[in-house]
Assembly symmetry: C2
Homo-oligomer: 426 residues x 2
Amino acid sequence: MTSIDPQVVDYVHDVARRARVASRELALLTRAQKDAALHALADALEVGSAAVVSANQEDVERERAGGMVEGLVDRLTLTTERVRAVAQALRDVAALPDPVGEVVRGSTLANGLTIRQVRVPMGVVGMIYEARPNVTVDAAGLGLKSGNAVILRGGSAAGRTNEALVGILREALTAQGLPADAINLLTQGGRDAGRALMTARGLVDLVIPRGGASLIQTVVLESTVPVIETGVGNCHVYVDAGADLSTALAITINSKTHRPSVCNAAESLLVHTSVAADFLPKALAELAGAGVVLHTDARSGEYADTAGVAHDAVTDEHFATEFLTLEMSVAVVDDLDAALAHVQQFTSGHTEAIVTEDRAAARRWVNEVDAAAVMVNASTRFTDGGEFGFGAEIGISTQKLHARGPMALPELTTTKWVVEGDGQIR
Amino acid sequence: MTSIDPQVVDYVHDVARRARVASRELALLTRAQKDAALHALADALEVGSAAVVSANQEDVERERAGGMVEGLVDRLTLTTERVRAVAQALRDVAALPDPVGEVVRGSTLANGLTIRQVRVPMGVVGMIYEARPNVTVDAAGLGLKSGNAVILRGGSAAGRTNEALVGILREALTAQGLPADAINLLTQGGRDAGRALMTARGLVDLVIPRGGASLIQTVVLESTVPVIETGVGNCHVYVDAGADLSTALAITINSKTHRPSVCNAAESLLVHTSVAADFLPKALAELAGAGVVLHTDARSGEYADTAGVAHDAVTDEHFATEFLTLEMSVAVVDDLDAALAHVQQFTSGHTEAIVTEDRAAARRWVNEVDAAAVMVNASTRFTDGGEFGFGAEIGISTQKLHARGPMALPELTTTKWVVEGDGQIR
């Protein structure tokens, strides 16, 4: 681990200290105040849309000239319509219940003390993410609604766009009589700023990395601030002996091809040997027809040959890879135990699906697979805050501490115990 | 950070891998199986009591000869009666509800998918703690009940005792047909074993340090496994202008002197200037009479002189110190804002108490103090899993992620989302 430029540390700590001061004020806002502010932020973004789009065009032109692939350029691009959509997302967050102040549990003790566990904001939340300007606005909005100050370190490719967005949001906060330091963008220091953020113990309460496996790995290993790991999804679909094969086909195709670039897309297909001959030729032909590059083990390779589709030999590296593209590893397994063992070896703990009409097999899958989401007869694509009805998503946790699976507003809070008495002593 | 002896890493990883295999079996046990095992463990400890006490005497004699202070010798010592008490604690844990399988929330989505968030064990939990043999048995029992395998790294001063205890517990597990690797003691590698434990990512799901500030600081800074910080308590009692002064006196004395060596004991007394003349001479005299060494600011020092009790000048270092002995820092503050600012500067985020009959002051304290527990008119000593009615306590979290305040069985679990459908795709 190389040392961090001390000037960058000073810069980030200074931002964090101001964010902490703002966070104390945010923690005490009523829901009505926060919702009004979210609407004001949304309005300001729409009013400032032209400036945002213009700043974004600078980013897009520079990055395209620098050779950024079109998939990433698309994620980077903001149009007037997309700015309107992110503004609308802020209004949608305003419509969600306020997690702050919720009484999680409580009781009156034998001695008359009343105790209650109440949701309160985390304080200062750092987000480290890639060049996706919509994440900037989402994180700011979810942070504000949950009473947290946020410190954003977005990918530098979106630098001008993020500055334009955060400039507008901070001005709108000030106009609302709220502290601008509720929403902070790290504009200096490059990667060292991210590293200073994740080591700002006592100033930052939580860091959430959102991005590829290497970004998340760096944050997890170097951070001394508590971290929530998100988003690496090496998801499997297992077609059991007891599967309805047309259901299995629909789930396999949907899980792999509906949106291959996201973490809840499937990367591996496992098929019970007893249904392989009936299922695989058709499934592999359909996957290949949808443009999926197939990495097959010996047995599934024979069915690919039967179907006359191209394939190469799968390796353990394939099995361990989150492709995030139209690629899939395929294997035939002898039984449910073999499927469970394979998943146990290669899972990233995100989403694992079984297709079966066999109740005992479904129960074993649900109980024995260790992942944020275990699915029976459903597409892996359903692991999502929006699909789960949370109304928002700040990321999908693949760790076990604090939050597991899609995270929304309550996951951005902690709790405090409030104990009230009449002079009780022990 | 110096590197860890690779042989110690191999040893710890080997233990962790065996613990992980055991954890899969533990996760599937019914409550009845776990409770029967806990009773069997308790019985075995009572049967093996003489061997434990004899091993403990070796530890005690060696440590006493080595100059261990009597307070620590007392915590290290096991008698037949104390062995019976730790065995009884296992039976008490058996009587508690099983957190595993609890459905935390759930719903049926518009598309007919049913989703439910279910409590499941963490997997493998590491505990790093000092020479307190009762923690060995408590952690083993709470781990078993919550379906987790535990890896224990206790203070080396209790080495023989811990080996005797864990040997008995593992034998009893085997006799119950359960995996002995559910309960593991690190007996080699000294401090490096602890460091290997806290960096065993992928093998260990959670590390809980229990002990002094320096142990916890080391774990938090070096660990790459998720950590829950516990137990540093720099707790304040603030006597407000609106306090009932006899209530304030009782709470001050109880918070400081009832059991000064524990984290929920008070370390600092803040008194509103308007009641200082009425309150402090009597309070300081009573504290001094109970043997409390007083560190006073200028104004409280004058009241100490009035009362004729010894005192020295308080420093910021005193204000920042968790004494864990009969010492207390004392200051007079101008108003509630000054008290809040002082607490904000020096709190360790454990427990902060106000004494007041003024509703507005109490509400501000509850809302504005950022700590695991905020108290109104109650002794700081009540922040405790037993007092809160949890029936057990694995530690008191002073961090914001996952758990805050006393931690019992549910805090040793995570959740998984179970999604069941009939072929739903997106």
